[in-house]
């Protein structure tokens, strides 16, 4: 042995860098020659990185920029109105640092309910640069010059060179400008000092942090309603950080990709077995062989991540113009969340590397003679205990239970345990996958030959099918958790959740005194007259109704007055109390929703669109008198379990009149009512511009506008979650069934040679896809129930385990049986091609 070692000539025992370079070169050549065989993995990584680049860029840039309204300043204070006390604050700030004032006076656009602002801002001030850009012309430089936004130019038919009477003075329009941080910002820009009655003044400033306290003191002493804001304080008010969400989705996505890729690289390594045997026969060490496979994985990861970045970035460049229009602010070409992009690219490479390292280890264990023969190594009979998987599930169950019990049973404060519990579910499912696969062998015993072979192969080649099964089950797990959590939350008819209104509905509520707005109109002589409205006025009920009518007219909608009864519903279901305003079922309201009197039970006290409310116990109706309103000093009377009739024609939104007291009940219990809200019903969805106009009008009418919010309905969430689970499962199956079947391509050749028809080939693929899909769905549903039972069993707020009684049966059946059926059908349709080489393995 010593003699042999002496022959090394001082070269490293494993060949060192030259050897690694030679192996890497070969891996690269293999990738170039065989990239089609790695297309699925490559496509998967490319799409994931491209989606991350585009998705995270859109998510991060959709909200206004974090420095919107600050320019380059660190702090801002808004004064409304700007008086002597505000001036005191500004003097203090000027003493400590540099200040730029932006003054605004709001004007109405004659003949419309829209407004614009006359704004004085130094075009080249110390901080306001990012809030102002020139589209054409030049900035105003004297009192008789003005620059306008394109919206204002359009409304007043202005162009550069025209003269415009604005702010009590004829001014030359010298430029078209915009606020890059808010393209909806409609204003007319004049030089500082040209706004006579500013309705709002914003002070942008930078001061040392130490001076901020003294400024804040002065501010609180003089204008306590204002606060010092900074980009950080504005960002902190938004708990959902798009970058964090992008990263969480990215990590989960890459885990799924890694699981799918393991199967892909295993089959690839199997296909290259002969080449690897050749390499070993001429002296490659195990390390070299591992390097071939893992270098291939790394190359796939690198190429996939670079391609993904290029595609994602190109997609962003193409989408950016329309995105800017929808986001209403200018977004830079390179305004990508670079950290997220970098992490995505690195994770893609790491995922591909780790996915290939397991088959790389396995391939070194194949004897060289076996490898050279190109025969697949016989599957080893490994008994994988289900105990580790169950231990992980139990640990997840306990952690989720602990999380659910925190905060006195409402689950608040148990976020770390919740996260850890959900994370532990995944290794639990991965470790249980081999056991579930072993079940297929037992099931197959009495199946017809093609099905038996397919099911048995799934059990025999668990290295490939196991990773695919894990990926499917994790996708289904996420989907099932969302479905069950949504079903348990949205099924509570007392604490009704969901969107507040339909998209063709707007609710009007009595609001605060109107903001100061200068109304411009023409008098009888045709002259423009400015009338300033101050916010000290208080509207009468008649004025409010008139205002509501004006808004409904402006929207072209039908106005329904909503009478509030001096009554309320009380009760608790699943730990949650009754929520939501109730109204009176006036004839006008019923007519508006097409409900005829004959449809109503004459003895019904309450009508509702909340499904299941009619059969629920524990609800009471309390009512007061004109002297003693309900809820103030206790009810004057009440009735337990009032007769409730479900009327599906009533609107379903949480702010809509989804539950109303009948006129019969109002008369029987002498309940008084008052008018406080209105509902505007349109023939079609209201546009953002219509809503914006309604808000502006409402602001001057002491009304508040409530339009449809972004909260989805329970069925929307459940349907999307079902679709997500099915698509993930089908995607994984599309990528893995071919790989699993290629493992046994030799058997397929034998079958074809012995006369098996396309029926047999189709059945093999269909059963493989269907069985893998069903097992993944089953495992995911089991995991989902473990998670939800674990969490709900100790969570009183969400009604405990009984909340799971409202299972969306159809969606779960779709995942459990529909998805595998689709997979089997697609597998059947796509698997009819006869193997190209029947007699032998293709030679390298």
């Amino acid at each position: 042995m010593d003699d042999f070692r002496l022959q090394s000539g001082g070269r490293p025992s494993d060949g060192g860098l030259p050897a690694r370079r030679a192996v890497m070169r070969w891996a690269w050549r293999l990738f170039r020659r065989e990239w089609r065989q790695q297309f699925l993995i490559l496509a998967l990584i490319t799409v994931a990185v491209a989606a991350t680049v585009l998705g995270s860029t859109v998510a991060v840039n959709d909200p206004p920029p974090k420095d919107a309204g600050f320019g380059t300043a660190q702090y801002s204070i808004s004064f409304d109105p700007y008086g002597s006390k505000a001036q005191t604050v500004v003097t203090k700030v000027e003493h400590d640092g540099t200040v730029q004032l932006i003054e605004n006076e709001t004007f109405s656009i004659p003949g419309t309910i829209n407004t614009y602002q006359l704004r004085s801002q130094a075009a080249h001030g110390p901080y306001g640069g990012p809030m102002l850009s020139l589209v054409s012309g030049h900035f105003p430089s004297s009192a008789n010059e003005v620059a306008v936004t394109s919206g204002v130019a359009s409304a007043f038919r202005l162009s550069i060179g025209k003269t415009w009477d604005v702010g009590g003075l004829d001014r030359h329009v010298v430029g078209i400008v915009q606020n890059p941080q808010s393209l909806l910002d409609a204003f007319a820009l004049v030089v500082p000092g040209q706004v006579a009655n500013p309705s709002e003044v914003t002070a942008l400033f930078d001061v040392p942090r130490n001076d901020l306290r003294s400024i804040d003191k002065v501010l609180q002493a003089n204008v306590p309603s204002s606060t010092v804001s900074s980009p950080a304080s504005v960002a902190a008010s938004n708990p959902l950080n798009p970058e964090t969400i992008s990263l969480a989705a990215l990590v989960l996505g890459m885990l799924l990709i890694a699981l799918v890729s393991i199967g892909g690289f295993t089959v690839l390594a199997q296909r290259r077995m002969r080449s690897i045997g050749m390499l070993e026969s001429i002296g490659a060490t195990d390390r070299h062989v591992r390097l071939v496979v893992s270098a291939n994985g790394t190359v796939v990861g690198v190429v996939g991540s670079i391609l993904g970045f290029i595609i994602g970035f190109a997609g962003w460049l193409l989408y950016r113009p329309s995105f800017e229009q929808s986001a209403h602010h200018i977004v830079g070409m390179f305004a990508l969340p670079w950290l997220v992009v970098l992490i995505a690219m690195v994770l893609a490479i790491v995922a591909a590397y780790f996915a290939s390292s397991r088959p790389a280890r396995a391939v070194t264990k194949v004897p060289i003679v076996h490898a050279l023969s190109g025969r697949p190594a016989p599957p080893r009979q490994i008994h994988r205990s289900i105990v580790p998987g169950i231990v992980f599930l139990v640990a997840a169950f306990l952690l989720l239970g602990y999380s659910g019990s925190t905060g006195g049973g409402d689950g608040n404060g148990g976020a770390p345990e919740l996260l850890l519990g959900l994370v532990l579910l995944m290794p639990g499912l991965i470790l249980l996958a081999p056991f579930f696969l072993s079940l297929t062998e037992r099931v197959s015993r009495r199946a017809p030959i093609a099905s038996r072979l397919a099911l048995r192969d799934l059990a025999r080649y668990r290295a490939r099918s196991g990773s695919a099964l894990s990926a499917i089950s994790i996708g289904v797990l996420i989907s099932v958790i969302v479905i069950l959590a949504s079903a348990s939350r949205f099924s509570n008819v007392f604490d009704y959740a969901g969107p507040n209104l339909a998209s063709n509905q707007i609710a009007l509520h009595t609001g605060f005194p109107p903001q100061g707005v200068t109304i411009v109109h023409r008098n009888s002589k045709g002259q423009l007259v400015r009338v300033r409205h101050h916010k000290t006025e208080t509207a009468t009920p008649a004025q409010l109704s008139s205002g509501a009518e004006q808004i409904a007219k402006g929207l072209g909608g039908h106005l329904v007055a909503l009478e509030s009864p001096n009554a309320q519903l009380n009760g608790t279901q699943g730990g949650r109390s009754w929520s939501g305003q109730i109204y009176v079922a006036t004839p006008q309201l019923l007519r508006a929703f097409g409900i005829s009197a004959s449809e109503i039970n004459p003895k019904a006290l309450v009508l509702t669109s909340r499904p299941g409310l009619a059969g629920v116990s524990g609800l009471s109706m309390d009512f007061g008198t004109s002297k003693q309103p309900v809820g103030q000093g206790g009810p004057a009377g009440g009735i337990k379990s009032p007769l409730i009739q479900e009327v599906s024609a009533l609107p379903a939104g949480t702010s809509a009149p989804n539950t109303v007291i009948t006129e019969y009940a109002m008369k029987k219990f002498h309940i008084s009512e008052s008018l406080s809200d209105w509902l505007v019903l349109g023939n079609q969805s209201f546009t953002a511009a219509q809503i914006s106009s309604a808000q502006l009008t409402a602001a001057s009418q002491q009304l508040q506008v409530e339009s449809r919010n972004d909260i989805p309905s329970g069925s929307t969430i459940i349907n999307w979650a079902t679709l997500f689970g099915i698509l993930i499962a089908l995607g994984v199956l599309a990528m893995s069934v071919g790989l699993v079947r290629s493992e046994t391509s030799g058997e397929l050749r034998t079958l074809a040679a012995t006369g098996a028809s396309s029926y047999t080939r189709r059945t093999l693929t269909a059963v493989t896809a269907g069985a893998l899909g069903f097992l993944g769905a089953l495992l995911g549903v089991v995991g989902g129930y473990v998670a939800m039972i674990g969490w709900l069993r100790s969570n009183s707020l969400n009604g405990g385990i009984s909340a799971l009684a409202n299972v969306p049966f159809g969606d779960l059946m779709l995942i459990l049986f529909g998805m595998p059926a689709i997979a089997a059908a697609v597998g059947w349709l796509l698997a009819s091609r006869e193997p190209a080489v029947l007699g032998r393995q293709p030679i390298e």
Partner: protein, 242 residues
Amino acid sequence: MSMLELRKISKSYGQGANEVDALTDIDLSVERGSLVAIMGPSGSGKSTLLTIAGSLEEPTSGDVVIDGVRLSGMSRNDKARLRRRSIGYVFQDFNLLAGLTAVENVSLPLELDGVSLKKARSKGMEALERLGLGDRATNYPDQLSGGERQRVAIARAVVGERSLLLADEPSGALDSLNGEAVMRMILSACHGGVAAVVVTHDAKLASWADRVVFLRDGKAVDETLPPPTPEELLAPDVPNPA
């Protein structure tokens, strides 16, 4: 000292009732510069013997000694190092790596051993030129004919300072003309001091060897000089081997 020594080599596959003896107590010694042919019917254990001699497979019992070094107890990595430094292996179906050019295939064992790319390429080119393939060096295996591929495989087997050449049916996939050319190359390597063992079915090619070992059912049933040529048979002082 023999370049290759096989001492009481046995190899069996399977276990219990399924156990099959592929080789039983084989002894073989190959000196430097000599060419040994191994013949025998299919399933007689010829290829198994060669793979054991080439450290590609472990014997069930017995010792393999290469250039005085026993393989038993050697780690996988040490065996790999031995293969790339001392043993050249030629296969029936060439076993060239499809992603590498002819010269890259030939220089690969040197590169795996840590020889710099430039030096390895230079030695690879030398080996190819010796075998008349200098102008085909940058071609990929699928751009070469069967005979050319086998010549590249031989160049890879002799490149560097290999002292043991093992060839398993090196002419099996070639026509007779190319088969003879291959044997001539192997013989030429032997003349340069390389010990060679060739497995073949072809008695005509075996006649090139210094010695022929006959295997039947895993046992060496005969070991003899090459079959005599017609001229030798006609000579009065040559005994009939039968």
